[in-house]
Symmetry: C5
Subunit: 295 residues, 5 copies
Amino acid sequence: MIGYNPKEWFTFLFHLHKSDTIRKLSPLLLGIAAYSGIIAVLEVEVFRLSDNNHLKNIPLMHSLLGFAISMLLVFRTNTAYDRWWEGRKLWGALVNNSRNLSIKLATILKEDDKANRTFFSSSIPFYAYSLLNHLQQESTKTALFDEDDHGHLIATIDQGKHIPNQVAAQLFKRVHSLHKQGKITGEELIVLNAELQSFTDICGACERIKNTPIPFSYSVFIKKFIFFYVMTLPFGFVFSMGYYVIPVVTFVFYVLASLELVAEEIEDPFGIDANDLPMEKIATNIKKHVQEILH
Amino acid sequence: MIGYNPKEWFTFLFHLHKSDTIRKLSPLLLGIAAYSGIIAVLEVEVFRLSDNNHLKNIPLMHSLLGFAISMLLVFRTNTAYDRWWEGRKLWGALVNNSRNLSIKLATILKEDDKANRTFFSSSIPFYAYSLLNHLQQESTKTALFDEDDHGHLIATIDQGKHIPNQVAAQLFKRVHSLHKQGKITGEELIVLNAELQSFTDICGACERIKNTPIPFSYSVFIKKFIFFYVMTLPFGFVFSMGYYVIPVVTFVFYVLASLELVAEEIEDPFGIDANDLPMEKIATNIKKHVQEILH
Amino acid sequence: MIGYNPKEWFTFLFHLHKSDTIRKLSPLLLGIAAYSGIIAVLEVEVFRLSDNNHLKNIPLMHSLLGFAISMLLVFRTNTAYDRWWEGRKLWGALVNNSRNLSIKLATILKEDDKANRTFFSSSIPFYAYSLLNHLQQESTKTALFDEDDHGHLIATIDQGKHIPNQVAAQLFKRVHSLHKQGKITGEELIVLNAELQSFTDICGACERIKNTPIPFSYSVFIKKFIFFYVMTLPFGFVFSMGYYVIPVVTFVFYVLASLELVAEEIEDPFGIDANDLPMEKIATNIKKHVQEILH
Amino acid sequence: MIGYNPKEWFTFLFHLHKSDTIRKLSPLLLGIAAYSGIIAVLEVEVFRLSDNNHLKNIPLMHSLLGFAISMLLVFRTNTAYDRWWEGRKLWGALVNNSRNLSIKLATILKEDDKANRTFFSSSIPFYAYSLLNHLQQESTKTALFDEDDHGHLIATIDQGKHIPNQVAAQLFKRVHSLHKQGKITGEELIVLNAELQSFTDICGACERIKNTPIPFSYSVFIKKFIFFYVMTLPFGFVFSMGYYVIPVVTFVFYVLASLELVAEEIEDPFGIDANDLPMEKIATNIKKHVQEILH
Amino acid sequence: MIGYNPKEWFTFLFHLHKSDTIRKLSPLLLGIAAYSGIIAVLEVEVFRLSDNNHLKNIPLMHSLLGFAISMLLVFRTNTAYDRWWEGRKLWGALVNNSRNLSIKLATILKEDDKANRTFFSSSIPFYAYSLLNHLQQESTKTALFDEDDHGHLIATIDQGKHIPNQVAAQLFKRVHSLHKQGKITGEELIVLNAELQSFTDICGACERIKNTPIPFSYSVFIKKFIFFYVMTLPFGFVFSMGYYVIPVVTFVFYVLASLELVAEEIEDPFGIDANDLPMEKIATNIKKHVQEILH
């Protein structure tokens, strides 16, 4: 994640960050500019189309569909942002969970019970690290892929055991054996249960976000729509704008494609893109706080 | 579900997937193109309407209503996606649930209590499979249909017993009898209760999504609105676009109808369409993980 | 509720269902058509207004306000659908609740305890039926009406006792007396509590949806806005469309009024309109499943 | 709250309810009409501006910003409605809570324990009344005002003690002392706890809605935006509409200002405006039902 | 937070509050006005561009993109407002929590147990103050910043220990030791647990809002889009508006930039801007109410 101060407008406007969409789109933007230029040359110089040519009125279609394309992109933006924010909430819940479990255990376990204190002060942060590794594995992303279409991809991945599940089971076992030994009472077991089962709920929810992108049909439809929309734009605009059609069409494409591009990047918040969640940082914070509490 | 990498634009643009809306709509698209062509021929060649004919200004209506139709389609898209995503969340909850119950039982049950361990390691995944079968049965979809209108349909379906309920009851009975035998304490019963009752809640919520499409009135109104909107489009556009009206009207129809078509497909996420949830895969994963934990 | 297959486009387009908005609006549509015709005759034949008349440009106002009216209608559609869907969720929760309570009681109660089994297998579904009757009574809808304005209406209704509350109290009493008799342990009481109190929560939430329509001010403002918007539409459109103004204005009114009409119908999902929830069906399903479990 | 039947269109259209925005805005509407008239006279009669004057094209700005203003008003409408509906849900939760607590206590308390039964059957509804009074006090609204700016206002208000808190504490104390006396078991205490703490949660949430309007900056920005938007509208419209500019600009202002006005009214649902929640009625219903149950 | 009466329109319109966006934007507004003026002089006086120049039609692009920019700003407004409102809800939950914990402890602790009563009546409000200080520290905001980019910033901040965690741990320890002493029963421990763990959940959620602004890519894209949109506006508008382009372009910029500016301010509700949450006030209220209850 990139930290930033949202109030520094000038930095934003004239600084090209390495994750800026202009950079990423630059080859496509040049392509679109060239394409618009060719259309303009053809219409103006080669065919010398008169102002009465019906091509002139094609932009009527673009304004009719302007609503639809904007709304689709906002739908895309909203759903991508919702996933990103849900991912952030889940990791926030992991922080709360780890802290609450530590605070409870720090109270329940005797001050001199070093063995158990050490066990939990290393196991609780370890859950965060194991989840982080789990989410960045390719196999997590492709867990729901159809084997017929993607068999070659899945075959090369050693699926192994589910690590976070093993860690959660260890935590639960230790608490349970402390209960059997009488170090944790029945009421305390109930009080600890919420945090213990929440680890697995958080892991499952992160996996859901990771392995389920928005439906294929929307993704493909939005891309096709943007493409045809922009590709047909210069035909009519050349009549009213001449060669200015080159920057104008390029700018329209920049806006539409940027929205799709950013949405693609943030809809999976557990990767290593510039906008993805700083899971490493959060896991380190969990470690720091848990050890502060359960020293 | 179709796995895909959202960043491969070129594949998306020029590859016609078998679930692509262009394919499904192709007969209708050809029909609309032909219809537009006929209107164009009639207005230009047959009646030779002058530029002062009032038909020319019909598109004023289309821009006025352009807002309304776009927003309706976004409403449709949002509600369909919400159902799909809620369905995915429910199956995610089923995964979490199955894992948590297994982790708890793996701890509570003695290591050598093979009988009960085997019972749960086969019953818990079985719930997922029974839910999957239940949701794909036609009778689940039509459970709330009005018998007066659909009697013939319902009569032919053997409603049978509700299988997931039976499985859930078996799970509950086993846990309860272990409690009676003293193998599960009172506090552990409370701790296990959350997962046990959640199975039935998930099943009920999936049934709700399955048997309650968006209100009939919206569905029919949106389709009628799109149809009349597109059918009246060529009348005015012929004046400004001539024969270009054919691709233009076809493209507008393609956009509007695609949105409706994709929404129809994903609003019931428990079918076997290309965009539907990979319930089979998820159930297999549940089986794998439960057996890993409760070996 | 009307069951339907959303993929049968042709049926939708050319079949006029008895709840179709075209049918319901037909007198108004004819009225609007006549009104537009009269305006057209007056402007074209009687006053023979020239093309320079300022009335021609009134539609500028209609495009400015086109955004506002569309968004208002989408706000209306969204809130109405949210109520309908919340109502459906509540009845879904009632199903889950009834099933879970039955599963738990089927396990806790002895196999041969016919008396209690019969009591619950008839009382649990009875709650659904009593809620259904309660929600369809006029007195439930008017429970929050101001007596000053609506005194005559309320006076004629025998408010009686609140039946669902009585049923819930009976259920709670029986469970409690079983607890006193030692047939239900303390932990089991806690486990049963969630379902028992959820009945009353569901009932209260249904009453809220039933007796609180969207604020009066919005309802009246939307209707006035649609009315004035459509009534002023023909003045300017006659200049550009001549007599075509008749179908055009009628179609615009059809779209706007249909959205409002459908919203009105579904915002109270507990009535007997064609789009309302099939509470009768759901109650029957609850009965069937509860008896299957608690035989 | 005003009860109404949403299907009586004619009543809505031609009846001017006392809370109708037309009434409230009438002085402003007359002012705007006069202002538009003066602009029209100046442009047409006094300065006799020619059709080439650049003022003619000012409306281009109004269409560009038409999107923005409509969306802002919908944002305003949505947030105001969400608060209103959240307020309604909170009072609905109060109803459910009071009923559930009564049902539980009616079961737990002995039939002949008149003292405690009477205590609860008067204290539970009393909470609703105390909350109602609390929410309608000016001091509740201004609880978070900055003393520097509003010191004079706050100084004149006797803040007193927080009554609902005292009532909740009394309820909790009585339940606790019954537990100490052995009339309520430990499990029953847990079962009653949910309702007891929910009273205070509801109170706090109502206070939040009451004392936190939408951020000052939005409120002031929306009003300024509407004002300048409408004030600059006649300059350009006079060229195309002549004196028709008077009703047109007035109608545009009526629409925009009505949306803001209704939002202002409903964003604080705990007042005594016509659209506010019928808290008095709800409290009376709570009293009626609690006494029915805990007779 | 600024208290205000939303119904005083005239005050709003003509009073320039110190947090008004017009004030903050004034240098930029002057800059945009000057820029537009220069473009106008160049086009009209220097180059004397004819009406056929293609620059005239550039505004076609602005209307096409008008949808997109408005929707983006509404997306921005909605997400910023959601964070602000979530922050307010969290502090509301802190109020409810503190009150409920006090009410419960006031009942459970003996009247004459002054030591513990005093401990809780000072510790509970102290949590609110410690959270307030914690949230206003710079280190909280930058907790997730990437050290490579921001190392110099983070190095200068003494991260210290996490104070709210320490306070929560103290509260939990005291309750637990009272349980060990038999002053709090097992059931009461369960009843108190909800409030105790909620403190840490609230703290974690506030930290999440504080240290995670909306993704960098959106923030930078929105600013760039507004900038280029406004900067290209005068080129075409000079043809139709002449020197009126100066106020028009300035007003358009004022509207778009204000929306972004207010969103920036409220998306972090825990600062000391004029629209930020009155945490100081809320903490004081908590103190007042807790001491009223736990005197």
